[in-house]
């Protein structure tokens, strides 16, 4: 790789201050540090440093999302062919499903990364700082939390909104209050609700010549079905599941309609394993988030006023974006609570409120996005009280020692 290093070194002066391409310094720096971890030495302080850096930390999250992404690609195809009455078994027509999914999902990912990174580069150059890695994660999260039928231009607009209003106006990665990916989703949800909810957005139902939708076709997600009944579920082809546990197993594996990356609890748990093992994701947030949702589910079970409340607590968590939000959204270190005690409170309330909003809100049966965004806003307040408790402990010590 020496020739590449030499080449970069040879063109580098053009991008330094005073060079003719000075305006592209951040872009060059971003590319250079992407290719090579720079030979910056520790000039002051500790002379040796941990091997980790921001690129590696962020890329670990991207790796953790890959199972959910691959599953989402497959499931996009799977749901599509189910509505056409083809390839009912999970492994039937595997290549067809993957190819179909890839054709649908890849453009979303490309648009999200393209627009987001473009704006990041622009801001980095304008502000004269180096390009931050935060968007590596957001750029993949955004498509994974959207329905497959969302138009590309909407993804572009939402990404631009999330990066500019959600992040850059606060000063860039590390300074934002809200999770950028959820900001994008919330923007679309309120700006274009018909493209973000309902029965038509989750599955691509385009039929080629000779193909036709099956008679019983229903594009409803499990969440929408739960409003009517907590025990009788049908798949997208309108075929009822044998039993409620059978339906829940399908939800656990992820063979159900939903946003691209959110359906498979299994795939998300693999990602959670990566995050927890490497120590990049907070186990406190994930665990307390799960407990919060589960406890709310139990409370609803005990209450039992309508069908939705009767959905067994553990199955509540298999639906919608609960696990996706828990593993990838709530754990965003910048927008989550930062103290260890605060993380417990933050995670618990986010899960608790998520299930609550989901069941109480008749207009849209999913509340995880709202609850996480709400807790993002509340996180600094939680941290404030946690830190204040520490301050009070210290002040009390002074009083004791003065007596």
């Amino acid at each position: 790789m020496k020739f590449l290093r030499d080449y970069l070194d040879s063109i580098k002066p053009n991008f330094e201050k005073g060079g003719k391409l000075e305006k592209l310094h951040s872009v060059f720096d971003g590319l250079e540090t992407f290719l090579f971890v720079p030979r910056h030495g520790a000039q002051s302080g500790a002379h040796i440093r941990d091997g980790i850096d921001m690129k590696r930390a962020m890329f670990t999250v991207v790796i953790a999302m890959i199972p959910a992404m691959l599953f989402g690609i497959w499931n996009t195809g799977h749901q599509h062919f189910l509505t056409l009455g083809m390839f009912a078994g999970p492994l039937d027509g595997l290549m067809d499903k993957l190819m179909f999914g890839l054709i649908k999902v890849l453009p979303l990912i490309v648009v999200s990364y393209g627009v987001g990174l473009g704006i990041e580069f622009l801001f980095a150059q304008l502000r004269g700082h180096s390009i931050n890695e935060g968007f590596l994660v957001s750029g993949l999260l955004i498509p994974l939390c959207l329905p497959v039928e969302v138009p590309l231009w909407m993804v572009a607009v939402a990404t631009a909104f999330a990066v500019v209003i959600g992040k850059e106006v606060f000063g860039g990665t590390g300074m934002n209050i809200l999770n950028p990916a959820l900001t994008a989703r919330a923007f679309l949800f309120f700006a274009y609700p018909t493209k973000m909810s309902g029965n038509t957005v989750w599955i691509n139902t385009s039929a080629e010549n000779g193909q036709a939708l099956v008679d019983g076709y229903s594009g409803e997600t499990f969440l929408a079905q739960s409003i009517q009944s907590s025990s009788n579920y049908v798949n997208v082809a309108g075929v009822p599941y044998e039993s409620a546990p059978d339906a829940w197993m399908n939800a656990f594996w992820g063979f159900i309609p939903g946003s691209i990356g959110e359906t498979s609890v299994v795939a998300i748990l693999i990602g959670a394993g990566v995050l927890l093992f490497t120590g990049i994701g907070s186990w406190r947030i994930m665990l307390s988030f799960f407990l919060g949702g589960y406890v709310m589910g139990l409370i609803f079970n005990a209450w039992g006023a309508n069908e939705f409340m009767q959905v067994p607590a553990i199955y509540q968590t298999f639906m919608g974006g609960f696990f996706f939000g828990m593993v990838f959204m709530a754990t965003d270190p910048v927008s989550a609570a930062q103290t260890n005690v605060g993380k417990w409170i933050y995670g618990f309330l986010a899960g608790f409120l998520g299930i609550m909003i989901r069941v109480f809100n008749p207009a849209y049966p999913e509340g995880i996005m709202m609850s996480i965004l709400f807790m993002n806003v509340m996180a600094p307040l939680i941290d404030h009280y946690v830190v204040q408790a520490n301050v009070n402990r210290r002040l009390k010590r002074v009083k004791v020692s003065n007596q």
């Binding site: 290719l35 971890v37 302080g45 180096s130 260890n340």
Partner: protein
């Protein structure tokens, strides 16, 4: 048998090149005393170039506290006074005599003296700068009375000198030093000892002090950690601390009446051919120590340990408070896609690399930052290696915004830059935490006093 306080948070960094327990002598031609080593002191020179000095002759005093003098470690001639910007005094170089001649301050038993007499003698003989204080991590203010004095009997930093080895045959000097230090406070003198394995009898059998054991990883040996867990510093309180080699120095002053600046240092690091211990003096030029004893290549010489030490050149001198010289490789190459490759040769507290598979492997780390400066993003990272009941990121943010009241509330009085060294090591955002803490302390010191 004292208390045993388990330190749970922290990280032991295993590096190649630990010093063998073999002691050699090192004699240098030149010695340098660097006023910037004594942080916070404003030096006022007492000697001119060309002056003849004895070991124990004061070279300069601190304008803040005129009684506090820093003395020459050897006898000889003041060869030069090196000044930097704004004529700041950087170094006082002394050309040493073959045979060291000492000023005589008179031997005496500290147990027969009053606290004030002990203090006076130490101030006069240049032993005072080795008594340091928290808060602010500066030379102790002789006009104050500390609520306690702490001595950490071990250094848990990577490649640090092993005080068990340094002290094992110096029971008498050490005990007399402790007797003298005891006179300086009405409170207790705490001696913190290694909890993981058995310390030397010299430390275990020390009399007149409270002995506590600190099992656990680095920074268990940091005196700040020990203070925090035994008798934390509140606003308005002062605690003094002394390093074990400085206890010896004080002990020898009372035993012999001489200012004996002998230091036993560990010459360590992956680039040293024969890492071992050397008996030398404070301020010794290291050139003759390292020449021919280090590997080829671009090297970083550090006075002190790799986490908190000071960067020096090959033709430079041992810092006043340091007990080791470390030599590690400078980073020379950028790594192709280094942020995604497995990096088996890198150490990480996270499990994004494979160092967790080999907890006992010794690493040869270079000076690479392994990344670039970023804003605070990751959370909970510092807390894993920071055994204080303090929220480090909140304290650092208070320092960044220069909010003194917040700094006080969040515990700035209890910390020193070295306590943040491990946080700095693990920081994903590669921030200069020790520098930030130093600046915060200086600001509070100036404003609060």
């Amino acid at each position: 048998m004292g208390k045993s306080i388990k330190i749970k948070k922290g990280l032991n960094i295993n590096l190649v090149g630990e010093a063998d327990k073999v002691l050699s002598n090192h004699v240098s031609d030149t010695y340098s005393i660097k006023p910037p080593n004594f942080h916070g002191a404003i030096p006022k020179l007492l000697v001119k170039e060309g002056a003849e000095v004895l070991a124990g002759t004061p070279l300069f005093f601190d304008k803040n506290h005129e009684q506090v003098k820093v003395c020459s470690p050897v006898s000889g001639e003041v060869a030069s006074i090196v000044r930097g910007e704004k004529r700041k005094i950087l170094e006082i170089r002394i050309l040493a005599d073959k045979e060291i001649k000492y000023e005589d301050f008179g031997a005496s038993n500290p147990n027969d003296l009053s606290g004030d007499e002990v203090k006076k003698k130490m101030l006069q003989a240049g032993a005072w700068p080795f008594i340091r204080q928290r808060p602010y991590d500066v030379i102790a203010n002789p006009n104050q009375k500390p609520k306690a004095i702490f001595i950490s009997g071990f250094d848990s930093n990577p490649l640090a000198a092993d005080f068990d080895f340094v002290l094992h045959d110096k029971a008498e000097e050490f005990q007399i030093g402790l007797d003298a230090i005891k006179k300086l406070t009405d409170g207790k003198v705490h001696l913190g000892l290694r909890g993981d394995h058995n310390p030397t009898d010299v430390l275990k059998n020390a009399k007149g002090v409270e002995i506590n054991y600190f099992p656990g990883p680095h920074p268990a040996g940091n005196v700040g950690v020990q203070i925090h867990h035994i008798d934390p510093i509140n606003k308005g309180e002062v605690v003094w601390y002394v390093s074990p080699q400085d206890v010896l120095l004080i002990g020898k002053l009372f035993l012999t009446g001489k200012y004996d600046a002998t230091r036993i240092i560990a010459l360590a690091g992956s680039e040293v051919l024969k890492p071992r211990y050397y008996k030398t003096l404070i301020g010794a030029n290291i050139k003759s120590l390292v020449e021919g004893n280090v590997k080829e290549g671009l090297l970083r010489y550090i006075s002190g340990n790799p986490l908190t030490g000071e960067r020096i050149s090959q033709d430079d001198s041992l810092g006043a408070y340091h007990s080791s010289i470390t030599v590690i490789p400078e980073t020379t190459e950028s790594r192709f896609f280094g942020w995604i490759t497995p990096n088996f040769d890198k150490l990480s507290a996270s499990r994004t690399m494979f160092s967790w598979l080999m907890p006992n492997k010794k690493y040869s780390l270079d000076t690479s930052l392994n990344g670039e400066d970023r804003a605070f993003v990751m959370t909970g990272q510092y807390e894993k290696v920071f055994p204080f009941d303090i929220y480090p990121v909140y304290l650092l943010k208070a320092i960044l915004t220069e909010d003194i009241e917040k700094m006080e509330n969040l515990g700035i009085f209890e910390v020193a830059p070295e306590d943040f060294a491990l946080c700095e090591f693990v920081c994903t955002s590669k921030m200069q935490l020790q520098k930030m803490v130093r600046e915060g302390l200086d600001l509070v010191h100036k404003e609060v006093g």
